[in-house]
Symmetry: none
Subunit: 225 residues, 2 copies
DNA sequence: GTCCTCAACAATCAGAATGCGCATCGAATA
DNA sequence: TATTCGATGCGCATTCTGATTGTTGAGGAC
């Protein structure tokens, strides 16, 4: 899962970025509204954290522009405490959740997780497909109840696929959502990790659709329509 | 389905081309208005993506010329951000949809799919004929509810036929719409793939009209005879 | 009118060529 | 030390080609 942070204060921004990365997200950080808007318009994000008090372009404006352009990723807005008007205006402009500064990072993580979960149409924080179960809260994966140890990248890849169960996901899409901005798109890492996930969870969890990408299907809801 | 891209910026153009190809389209790329106009006038396309800000001949002019010549394929226009006048002028000149730059490729794909679908007079993204069902969104094909595995070419061929259900489609037309510009037109690949589709979906899905081509008929709306 | 022949077209098959995806390993990184 | 990354070569599914076989319909002979 890939996240955009737009936060003008460098210290806080960096701190957020590294916290989120530790929690298994790919993170792009932008420190001003214009750049932030551009990133949100061109790159693929699964969620954004947007500070309203930005120099140059206001956060609300950025949010408004995204929505007008049809960008649908969930946005978590950061407001100064007790700024009621901001809060209301933010929700009006299309924010999905808000958090008053200062806040605890755990809370931010939890809310982001919920946003991403809801955006993918999942009610529970536990995703399942066949014998595989993935708990987005603890970041644990089990196969038939047996815990399986996945590395960070393996987890990210699997997590994205499970969030988009049944959909055909292209290699490009995977790269865009698992890695942040600066990454060499010409490599076969995706294949490598798919191979290793298959080794750990069984070859049949991930289906290859030749020429198009991969797809994770749940045998439970597969048969006749 | 075959698509023409007219985009002067080489990087973006190439990127679009490969994304679309990954999604199962045959793509021709032109980097200037004159050449683009020529291609659109002489070749057979199911849709075009046209950048308005072209050197030499303006995109609007190209579009206008196509329409005056009676070219009817749907055109998706790319405009610079917030260029209201462009947008209006584009729609006036006969554009079917527009997208402001910068945009997300997923959005472009979705809109193109919608354009092609509407152009063939289909309301839904699910095409059916007899026991065969094709979902253009997920790219899946089922026979009596059972999923059928088709290769890329097989899918393209079937998809074109299903978009033109009931119509007699010549071999030439098929070649023109599922391959791009540089392809040896003297070969019997079409026959080969028709054979293989028949093997997978039943011999009666595709009817041969000797001397003319093929036709895919839906027994449901075939009159008594 | 019936049957036969032939030419044109279509279908099928097998082998060759291509290209995609996979696995493995060594290097880089943290 | 564990993990991630990038490169290479291999294997196999897919695609294409060309040859062969099968089908259809028109025209001519009877």
């Amino acid at each position: 899962m890939r996240i955009l942070i737009v936060e003008d204060e460098p210290t806080l921004g960096q701190q957020l970025k590294s916290t989120l990365e530790q929690n298994g997200y790919a993170v792009d950080l932008s420190t001003d509204g214009e750049d932030g808007h551009f990133l949100g318009s061109t790159e693929e994000y699964d969620a954004a954290v947007l500070d309203l008090g930005l120099p140059e372009i206001d956060g609300l404006t950025v949010l408004g522009m995204w929505r007008k352009e049809g960008r649908k990723f969930p946005v978590l807005v950061l407001t100064a405490r007790d700024s009621w008007s901001d809060k209301v205006a933010g929700l009006d402009a299309g924010a999905d959740d808000y958090l008053a500064k200062p806040f605890q990072t755990e809370e931010l993580i939890a809310r982001l997780r919920a946003l991403i979960r809801r955006a993918s149409g999942n009610a529970s924080s536990e995703l399942t497909a066949g014998d595989v179960r993935l708990d987005t809260r603890s970041g644990r994966v089990t196969l038939n109840g047996e815990p399986v140890k996945l590395t960070a990248q393996e987890y990210k890849l699997l997590s994205y696929l499970m969030h988009h169960k049944g959909k055909v996901v292209s290699r490009t899409e995977l790269i865009e959502h698992i890695y942040d901005q600066d990454f060499d798109r010409d490599s076969n890492t995706i294949e490598v990790f798919v191979t290793r996930i298959r080794k750990k969870l069984g070859a049949d969890v991930i289906t290859t659709i030749r020429g198009l990408g991969y797809s994770l299907d749940d045998p439970a809801d597969a048969p006749r329509e």
